[in-house]
């Protein structure tokens, strides 16, 4: 059981590296949505009888992270007619290295944390950490609004991954996490990115520095 | 009745004897230079003549120009009356009278300075500046001397302060006070009363525009100031208290005479200093008095 779980989480971590490495926005979005799908599947695998709440969470995640938001992103990308992240603040190779280093560090550090026996030998926590880190790298290192949004969503995937530790005990928090995705996702992408696109007719956030000291 | 008579006598002796000193000095200078010189009573004649003359006042000056010399004279007289005359004591003596005396002298200076500035003449401005500025240093020296005496005697009233000698530091104190005397009365080497070059004068240039009675008052005041300082000096260094009244009076008169002679001799031997060296000399005076003070402190402590 844990084997499949770890396999999936490993896959998600691989997708992190892909997201860090690619310069093409479609690939980035695809990586993110794939990660969403994986995260949607994981709860089902968490090895306990499937009650309706878990199913709901799984479904919502699948729909939200896997389908809705990526499609929104693609639309925004089309309207902005960009599909490449040119000269990022943190280059692709450095960010790859950072991400990989982060993943290794996470794997190395997690044994220091006290974990319940059933989580002790899963990749949940290191995976979560690595994904959160990936999200931050993208947020900090990319200049296109869309890549930053992807970064943000990946960051949340990480948190969601961590939340799975608690899905049995306190599902509400996890549900809340999903909620966060949908609302923020829709907000940022659906409205603001679109407005920015119209106001600045570009999604290059380097243009957004009118407000400063 | 008697005290009143005393006071009147004291007043008279200040007013009448004061003009003698400049005469003596001039006499000494003349003798040293091998001339016969003006009579000793010359200043009396001058004063009398001036008192009879009319007044010429600068077009710029205000009525104060005439009045201020009187104020200055009164303040000098007041200061004088506070100074004890050996055994005769002072007209008025109380705790802290020495300070009043110092500040009365300052008042006199203030009045002459304002009167001089009335005329708006650059020469007199120069003189005023020198007078009031050098006064800062001589003030410090005098106060140091006063402190020395008051440490010595443990009193702040001149009668008791000046009765005994200034103790071990007497030489220092004497020299310091003598230099101050020269400075305060604008004698050589600080100022040359006989010069006729306005640029080099202090006191003389301040009174350049005065004439008639006011000038007389000023000259008389100056002579009283000279007498005052020589009395102070004498009593500070000569222990009069140890002698009987007659002897003391004699000593006092002799002391004053000696001081005047010394002034005269200095005047005839030295030339006027360059102004930039004046502060140096005054600082020396100050330091001498300061050392006298320290000596007195040590002496008092032991």
């Amino acid at each position: 059981m844990n084997a499949n779980l770890n396999l999936l989480i490993g896959l998600a971590m691989g997708l992190n590296l892909l997201a860090l490495g690619t310069s093409r926005l479609p690939a980035l979005i695809r990586a993110m949505s794939a990660q969403g799908v994986i995260l949607g599947v994981i709860p089902v695998l968490l090895g306990h009888d499937l009650d309706w709440r878990v199913a709901l969470i799984a479904l919502a995640t699948l729909a939200g992270k896997g389908v809705v938001i990526p499609s929104l992103l693609r639309r925004a990308m089309r309207t902005a007619q960009i599909d490449r992240e040119l000269d990022p603040l943190i280059g692709f190779v450095p960010s790859l290295l950072l991400g990989a280093g982060g993943a290794i560090a996470a794997l190395a550090l997690v044994p220091l944390l006290p974990l319940l026996p059933e989580h002790a030998n899963t990749l949940l926590v290191p995976g979560a950490l690595a994904t959160v880190l990936t999200g931050f790298i993208l947020l900090i290192g990319r200049t296109k609004a869309i890549s930053q949004v992807c970064g943000y969503l990946i960051l949340e995937n990480g948190i969601y991954l961590f939340g799975l530790l608690l899905i049995k005990a306190m599902p509400l928090l996890v549900e809340a996490g999903v909620l966060l995705d949908l609302t923020v996702g829709v907000f940022i992408i659906g409205i603001i990115v679109d407005r920015i696109q119209r106001a600045f007719d570009s999604l290059d956030t380097r243009k957004l520095t009118a407000l400063r000291e | 009745m008697i005290p009143l008579a005393h006071q009147l006598l004291r007043l008279a002796c200040w007013v009448l004897l004061a003009p003698l000193l400049p005469g003596i000095i001039n006499q000494v200078k003349a003798r040293v230079a091998g001339r016969r010189g003006p009579p000793v009573l010359q200043l009396y004649y001058d004063l009398a003549r001036l008192w009879r003359k009319g007044v010429v006042v600068s077009t710029l000056a205000s009525p104060a120009f005439v009045i201020l010399p009187a104020v200055a004279w009164v303040s000098l007289l007041g200061a004088a009356l506070l100074v004890p005359l050996g055994p005769a004591g002072a007209a008025l003596s109380f705790h802290g009278d020495v300070l009043l005396m110092l500040y009365l002298l300052a008042l006199g200076r203030f009045c002459t300075a304002w009167a001089a500035m009335e005329t708006g003449s650059a020469f007199e401005g120069m003189g005023v500046v020198r007078e009031v500025s050098y006064a800062v240093l001589s003030e410090a020296a005098i106060v140091a001397a006063v402190l020395a005496l008051c440490v010595q005697t443990g009193s702040v009233s001149m009668v008791t302060m000046l009765a005994p000698t200034a103790g071990a530091g007497v030489v220092l104190l004497g020299t310091g006070l003598f230099i101050v005397l020269l400075a305060e009365n604008c004698r050589v080497p600080f100022d040359d009363p006989t010069t006729h070059l306005e640029l080099t004068m202090i006191h003389e240039v301040m009174v350049l525009d005065h004439s008639g009675p006011p000038l007389a008052v000023i000259l008389h005041g100056a002579s009283m100031k000279l007498l005052l300082f020589s009395l102070l000096l004498t009593q500070a260094i000569v222990p009069l208290a140890q002698h009987g009244p007659i002897a003391a009076t004699g000593l006092l008169a002799g002391g004053v005479l000696a001081v005047t002679l010394a002034v005269g001799i200095v005047e005839s031997l030295l030339a006027r200093f360059a102004y930039r060296r004046v502060p140096l000399l005054l600082t020396t005076a100050f330091l001498l008095c300061l050392f006298a003070l320290l000596v007195a402190w040590k002496g008092g402590a032991s």
């Binding site: 944390l113 943000y152 939340g163 909620l179 966060l180 923020v184 940022i188 407000l211 | -």
Partner: protein, 480 residues
Amino acid sequence: MKSLLLVIVPLLAAALAAAWPSNRSRPLLLPATGLIHTFLCAWLFFCPPPVTPGAWLAFDPLARAVLPAVSLLFLVCAWYGVSYLKIRSERSNRIFIMALLAVLGLLSAGHQSRHLGLLWIFTEAVTLAAVPLLHFNGTPRAFEATWKYLLVGGTGIALSLLGSLCLGYASLHGGGEGDLTFVALMSQGAGLSRPWVLIAWVLLLVGYGTKMGLTPMHTWKPEAYGEAAGIVGAILAGGVTSVAFTAILRIRSVVGAAGEGAIADHTLLVIGLFSMLVAALFLLGTRDFKRMLAYSSVEHMGILTLGAALGPAGVAASLFHVWSNSLTKGALFLSAGNIRRAAGSASMDEVRGMNILTPRSAALFVTGLFAVTACPPFGPFFSELKILRASLEAGHMAATAMFLTCLLLAFFGLTRVVFGIVDGRPANHAKATGKRFVESAGVILPPLVLLGLSLWLGLFQPALLHDVWAAAAAQLYPSP
């Protein structure tokens, strides 16, 4: 039940606003809702309902100690909003009013929620509900501000969620069975897993600190406050930050129960002083009087945090400061809004002589300045003095010295800017725009009332309020 009304009424009003046809009469919903809300609040304040320990949402002492201030502030701002929206009648105010009312409802919920997850949900909801308020002006600058607000704030939200999860895991690891109400967590006390609690504390402090605007997470504040309308600034600075602050207080109490209070207090002390220092340095140099207000707000958040680090007395003082600060700041934001509108700019390079163009607003602004820089007899003076006293009683001499120094530097900065724009002779073009702005009662009285309230807080020091604050502090520091 009434406590639920506090949440429901505004949300219903928001829905109503959505449906309301007329753009002209819609603003009246604001004061109406505000009145009802304040009335309910007052009712609950004077006869507080019994709180069932396990309740997820209740008007508990902490809510009682803060929510009325928010409600008052909103009421006055709503009153101001009517005349403000009358000036801005050119654009539709539907979304604006909806958002405003929603913010009120969610704030009430956030202040009352006694459940880790719930608290987080409402804080997040408030953050998102405030977004439309920020880009009401619809200028590119407004969108830029919104974008930064959303992403920085979003990161904060995410981190606080992660923190909540960690805290949850701490309780789970300690054998808790998934009850995340603060009461339960505190009762679990030392049973919580220490490392996880600490991790959670750091994450939550950063997360909610981002909402509060503590340095170095404050970066969204100047942008957002600088571009938003005065009324929005007032509500963000007075209301939204306070909910984050109470969240931190509640979490601090859990950490304290877990036996890590000392560490928590130390972190609070450090980040509070750091915020004050950085804010003061910004204030010394900034040339835009609305951004200046933002930095001053950062500084006051630092003061609150400092107070929170000083034990029950400090917490009570901080709650006092929440009141005095939100009321005074409200007055400043509203009068600054007037001046901004009359001068047509917010930079002290262009704005001068406002005491000639808008004498009343300028007078209010200056009074507010003195009030907010802790000049007696206004509220902040007394609250900051209480915090000062608490920190001296706790024996933090160096911290106190630092605190006072920062206050002084902030004073320099604030007076420099404020008198720079108030005194002097107005530029000619400014005269023209100034003419167009009328200082009607609708835009002058609300800030005046807020200042009056601040003055009342200071001079009369209602004993009841002090008891309430003490009670709230007692709730956070249960005596063993």
